[in-house]
Amino acid sequence: MELQEIISLCQKGDRTAQKKLFDLYAKRMMFVCQRYFISLQEAEDCFIEGFMKMFDALSSYTYINEKSFYVWFRTIMINHCINRLKKQSKENEYLKPRDVETGETNINSEQISVQSVFSSEELLRCIRSLPVNLRTVFNMFAIDGFSYREIAVRTEFSEAVIKTYIYRARKILKETLEQILKERNEKN
């Protein structure tokens, strides 16, 4: 069945079509949630809520092509992840800028050369090892392509803080990747 057909059926509220759409995108969306949330429980909750948001918004969606639908859906999911984190930050102490010195913004210094190939699981593990603030900002900036300004609006950090976070995240990620390489060499 064509995606367009599935979407138009979903707009009418067809349950089997919704299931098909779910099967098509669930794995990719789950990966997005797992990038933002460490605990599986939270990731799954966020995932379900994101899907419901998408089904709600689908009635006003006009189909262009498969790529655009995927981007549209992923944007909903990412926005929901960020909103959820933001909500948590109000309840808990997440996502509050603490002890940040905004001096170290030497961003381009982390252009390291990585010859080896990393699997997506390894990279996901690296990202999930970051503390929550760094992880969120790095996810938004590096992978989901937000600009500094957008991140500043969404997270209410200042841009200087965000630049520092990204710099630190890169530093930690570089170290973790080097460690993974070292472990590989030891195995061989």
Partner: protein, 280 residues
Amino acid sequence: MNIDELFRKELQNSESEISQNLWQRTQTEMDASLSHSPKGKFPSENVFSKVTSLWHSASLLTKVVSVAIVSSFIVAGTYLALSDADNADSKLQNTVSVSDVAELKDAELPKEPLMADTVFSDRKNGIKENESNLDFDISDEGTHLPLLSDNYLKDGLEEIKNEEISSQIEIMQPQMKTENVPGEAHTPSEERMADDIQIPNYISPNEDGINDCFLIKNIEKYPDNVLIIKNRQGKRVYEKRSYTGEFCGENCPMGTYFYVLNIRQGKKTKQIVGSLEIIR
């Protein structure tokens, strides 16, 4: 290669395994949200428009019968039926034709058909309210009179006695002060209760022996109490049942906090709220 690029290329469209029951859970969540959506709500406006359209299309007999049934309930209740003077002519016609029907059917639909073109009005909003309910209203007022007797005066005297204490209450209840002072006469029991309690508005937990702990004066007289302290984000930082002065600002950075103290004595309860400054 740039680290950002490496991650973006690998992770932007990656997939991860999902647990088996995830679709099941999504489905149930969706069902649950459907039943709460506006579409699923009781369509009150639709019901009224439907009823009116049904009413217009209904035959005279059904109208009469339904009105007779409804009016028998309403008249028995607290409503007055007023005849609609403007439609006097049509009323006449209706009653005539109804009596025809009644004859044909051999049914006993006697005086009720008169209700066919009547307007029902609530007694409270009706035009005739003042005439019919005049003496009833007076008796209603009269029931309030006993309240103004002895007790009321006694409370007033006590109020004068406790003038000093009421100033303490003002300190204890900075937020409630403006609201409660005018209404004090109506809720004397609550104001009077536990009025010997004194709560400081700042503590300085630096172990110098002065104001180190959040000590509430006379709290030990009211063991049935609950103290909750929240920070400015609304997060609970301390909670204690039958508090006697244990809170010394543990794990609390300097700043403003808010406390809610609930005291119960017998059947009376009293809530004291206020702010608490922690200075280190």
